[in-house]
Amino acid sequence: MSTDAPAASPATAEEKERRLVDWLRERGSVAIGYSGGVDSAYLACVAVDALGADGTLALIGRSASYPAAQWEAAREVATRFGVPVLEVETDELSDPNYAANPTNRCYFCKSELWTKLLPVARARGIAALVDGTNADDLADWRPGARAASEQGILSPLALLGFTKADIRERSRARGLPTWDQPSSPCLASRLPYGTPVTIARLHHVERAEAALRALGIAGDLRVRHHGDLARVELASDELGKWLAPAAARQLARAVRDAGFARVAIDLRGFRSGALNVLGGVVAEGSATAA
């Protein structure tokens, strides 16, 4: 027997945004853990609309784990949309638990991040510290989420059911340049678990990826660090082009110049969370993070 009551239709992205505005206004003021990525850029822009610049603060936790170009892009977006920004140095690399690169490395990184950002928000009397975690992220392998939870960080996008697609849709509607930006996890995600995270290794990866971008490679891109070998993952629509001999040699030269002795192009192309599979953290077919 079926009921006559119609099933509730799922909320549209626009409806979710209205709820987000209400949620933010109920808080009164928020500080946002801000990387300039798709999620945190969207959240910061909605927060400025809902609370004004006086009620919003985007906090950048700066360290060697993220490429310098990302911070420049993050600051540009904030400036363009009137989001106040403050940069706070973080030093996860000096934590041996993080530097050893265990499968829960992100927990130690995020613990350091929130430990540094919370006092800054409290000192300014800000009601809530929030992050850009979305509903899709909840299904991922994300040990960093535990650190956020332990320190009382709120995740309104996840709470209100925003998927990544919702955030991209609303970002586009708002004219945010981040709407189609590829995901940009930290550089340490390019190192297989168990390979110690060092500034030198992060710089190798950062330089190699910057060199490949300079060649015109667009979309998702990862340079996976396997000792002296760089394994390059490209978006599927770029892969065929760069496997042609002349193009492959050009690609390899750029990566060698960045400090790797050997270069290989992954035949499956970019896969989010590929090192989670290699490290045995998740099964093939379920990789999602990094």
Binding site: V232, G240, R262, R268
Partner: protein
């Protein structure tokens, strides 16, 4: 996981490559005139064979 058996399986579908193992990655070195891997359907077959042989990734190593 065996580089030799993967190499034979790749050869059976027309890919000429020397296969070596690094961690759980299969690294292919091909002759200069080998162009099969530029075709997506061939790459898909190669990736499937690599998985069947216990490798978690397969990549074309690019020489000097």
């Amino acid at each position: 996981m065996s580089a030799e058996s993967l190499q034979a399986a790749l050869e059976a579908i027309g890919i000429r490559a020397e296969v070596r193992q690094q961690e759980r990655v299969a690294l292919l070195r091909t002759p200069p005139d080998e162009r099969a891997l530029e075709r997506p359907e061939v790459r898909r077959q190669a990736a499937l064979l690599a998985l069947e042989h216990g490798f978690m990734a397969i990549a074309l190593e690019v020489g000097e």
